[in-house]
Symmetry: C2
Subunit: 276 residues, 2 copies
């Protein structure tokens, strides 16, 4: 467990971000509930909080690109990562059956992940909402019948809702990767064996292969790669990669070579691999 | 202009998909308006339409991953691509000023792209909706005051709305890539100089670099790369790449080598490059 003062999370207590904050930092911390990732970053930059927890990648839907852009544009540093197996549960007020439900409100990502389940319940209308736990809270506070939420078991307990169906996501193993971010000035390197890097390349044939050869020669293992449009210059691509390594000296060597070969090289963070 | 019978588009007439269908196929075709990408694919598989138009990548937010999954899972073939410069306009009923507007309803992607504009108009609440043009239509049909839509100029004309602010997206050059997809059995190769490929690799160090070296040796140019979680086996990654080439023989050669070196190699489509 890492000690900390205050943590910004996306969503409210009972959300998946809350679960990550507890698992990574323990239960003693102060939480700042943020209604969007923009607000979360603002809290961090204004020094209202020490760290923030941000979902960055999902094993089904891929990267959450706008969050990469937020980290990059605001020069935040990734200082850790945490993986959470996300199980979606359908919940409503006690006494309600699934046949009583006419609408389910949830985050677009949660609705997407549970699409197959609702194909078998065509009488339920899918409505997009900001946050999974927020909907559970509103149903509870408003004593709202006919509407269900998709959220965690923690949310069901916290807001006294009844679970109508467990693990309704199509793909049962549904892992989401969260990153722990800080302001850049507070960045400290210790016990690192993974890094997130960004660089840009000319659109010459073989330029990416050359960089990957360097990483491989330096014994770095690529765990993720993504070409991304360069903001303000469409269809010029930047690359976001994650690498793991055993020796920090290997990483330092690769870093100094890639820095010379690629343009606008940037370390988004170096941290401890969250996977065992 | 390519001749065709009937085209499925995401959204309604006045949507950006509609604009792409017109620019790619001309105005003589029959359109099938689909309220989701799932419905669009269903129409294609049920042979209600000959082709479908699908947004696949945006120069700001990156790839639309679920659409890659739809193409892959349903064995559709990409037979063409088209780039559209998307300009978002704020529109409402004639006579309304921006100070009269309390809510703007639009697609989450459109809201995201116009975030900076609305930071300067904090009295306007952002509400997520299914489709940009659909909101414009509803405001018009319902004679709804106080609510604005974000949509194309075509939508404003079609639904008699007044443009309150032009090109309100943060990044002025905002290009979206659309693909034209068909059922796999109808796939024909001619005049091709671009291809979308998918393959999987062992997580051995340097395995991706080796593949990219082959592509480079075969004179193929990589225009896009994305590692993606493999469905049902989280954190095993598949790679989606786009390549361009001058000679089909170079492409055929690269294909036969990569097929031997990588696992589950698949051609998602070979087509004519939509970029000049």
């Amino acid at each position: 467990m890492n000690q900390t003062k205050s943590i910004a999370i996306q969503g409210i207590k009972g959300s998946f971000h809350h679960a990550v904050a507890e698992q990574y930092f323990g239960t003693a911390s102060t939480l700042e509930e943020c209604l969007s990732f923009d607000v979360l970053v603002e809290h961090l930059l204004l020094k209202n909080v020490d760290v923030a927890v941000m979902a960055i990648e999902n094993s089904i839907a891929g990267s959450i690109i706008p969050n990469y852009a937020l980290i990059d544009a605001n020069n935040l540093q990734i200082v850790g990562e945490h993986y959470l197996d996300i199980q979606h549960n359908l919940m409503a007020l006690p006494g309600q059956n699934i046949s009583d439900i006419t609408e389910v409100h949830s985050h677009p990502m949660a609705l997407l992940q549970c699409k197959s389940f609702f194909k078998n319940h065509p009488h339920i209308k899918l409505v997009e909402a900001k946050d999974t736990a927020e909907v559970a809270k509103e149903i509870s506070n408003g004593n709202t019948k006919g509407i269900a939420a998709i959220a965690s078991k923690t949310a069901a307990q916290l807001f006294n809702l009844n679970i109508l169906a467990e693990s309704i996501q199509t793909i049962k193993h549904n892992e989401t990767r969260f990153v722990i971010v800080k302001r850049q000035t507070e960045y400290v390197t210790k016990n690192i064996n993974k890094a997130s890097l960004k660089f840009e390349l000319d659109h010459k044939r073989g330029s990416l292969a050359t960089i990957l050869n360097v990483l491989s020669d330096c014994k770095l293992n690529l765990t993720k790669i993504q070409s991304l449009p360069k903001i303000e210059t469409p269809w010029k691509y930047a690359f976001f990669i994650d690498v793991t390594f055993n020796e920090v000296s290997d990483y330092e060597k690769a870093k100094s070579v890639v820095q010379l070969m690629a343009q606008n090289f940037k370390v988004l963070g170096a941290y401890k691999n969250g996977k065992l």
